[in-house]
Symmetry: C2
Subunit: 139 residues, 2 copies
DNA sequence: TATAAATCCTTCGTATGCCAACTAATTGGA
DNA sequence: TCCAATTAGTTGGCATACGAAGGATTTATA
């Protein structure tokens, strides 16, 4: 692995792999995946968004989102309501389950985040997040 | 996205997404993917490794690797040689194509890495890589 | 030495993830 | 107003990813 210590693409892949795996394990008991959790977070912030808007907020391909939303409907987390104003648009709405599990799921996310940053000092944590934002948002 | 500015899992996912996409674009002309390129790098370092060893060096599930290797055989990048000493083991060997494209592909990787870190100062680049290693390798 | 345990790889199932192409619906412009 | 361009979402194709289970082989042990 030393071979890749300067390859930021590899390092990002592995750090992401680790973080994703950590969160995934915490969520299995809920029948939820990390990406599905992320969608819930967007909806907790603002319910009834269109699929398009969710895909923009999460920087996720609409084609990817389509399948995820379908599985979340099957899992009883959300509903799809056709928009009466614009028949092309779907309004994605939280189910009772999706609303009521917010506190527990938010805790899981916070703990997973802490777990991922376990070995870092407070300054390093802040710095890492800043640098990751820079990498993501550049151009 | 502001909503996720403190969620390192999200930030890692998006930074990885960006880096992966950047590298992927550079490789499409070669008919190669980022993960396949990574496997070539391991083999450039030491040819004839077993699939098991490759999966360990890249921290990649053997089940995932199996399919990737098969596609790399189809693409003419590698060969699979059964090990005469141990019939369970496959020795993965570079093809002429896999060997001869090393210089060009290495350049592409280097440029992709630079591109990903474009907005950062030299200090930040070093720091980011160090922090990512810490995140990955912390048990 | 016969059998249990471990190892190597593959296959299956499920879930991202993206691109390209497609349908349906809406909007814009001549 | 009518048709072209745009927009929303889905589908199909391909490529990771991982867990679980299975087949073939090798090793360890009773």
């Amino acid at each position: 692995m030393d071979k890749f210590k300067d390859c930021v693409i590899f390092l990002l892949a592995k750090a992401y792999q680790k973080a994703h795996g950590t969160f995934k394990k915490r969520l299995t008991g809920y029948g939820l995946t990390p990406i599905q959790h992320l969608i819930l977070e967007v909806l907790w912030d603002e319910d009834g968004l269109s699929a398009r808007t969710i895909s923009e907020r999460l920087v996720l391909d609409p084609a990817t989102l389509s399948g995820v939303l379908e599985r979340m409907v099957s899992g009883g987390w959300i509903f799809k309501h056709p928009d009466p104003e614009d028949k092309r648009t779907l309004r994605i709405c939280l189910s009772d389950k999706g609303v009521s599990l917010k506190p527990k799921l938010t805790t899981e996310r916070d703990q997973a985040n802490q777990e991922c940053l376990d070995g870092l000092t407070m300054e390093e944590k802040v710095l890492l997040k800043r640098l990751l934002r820079d990498v993501s948002y550049t151009k």
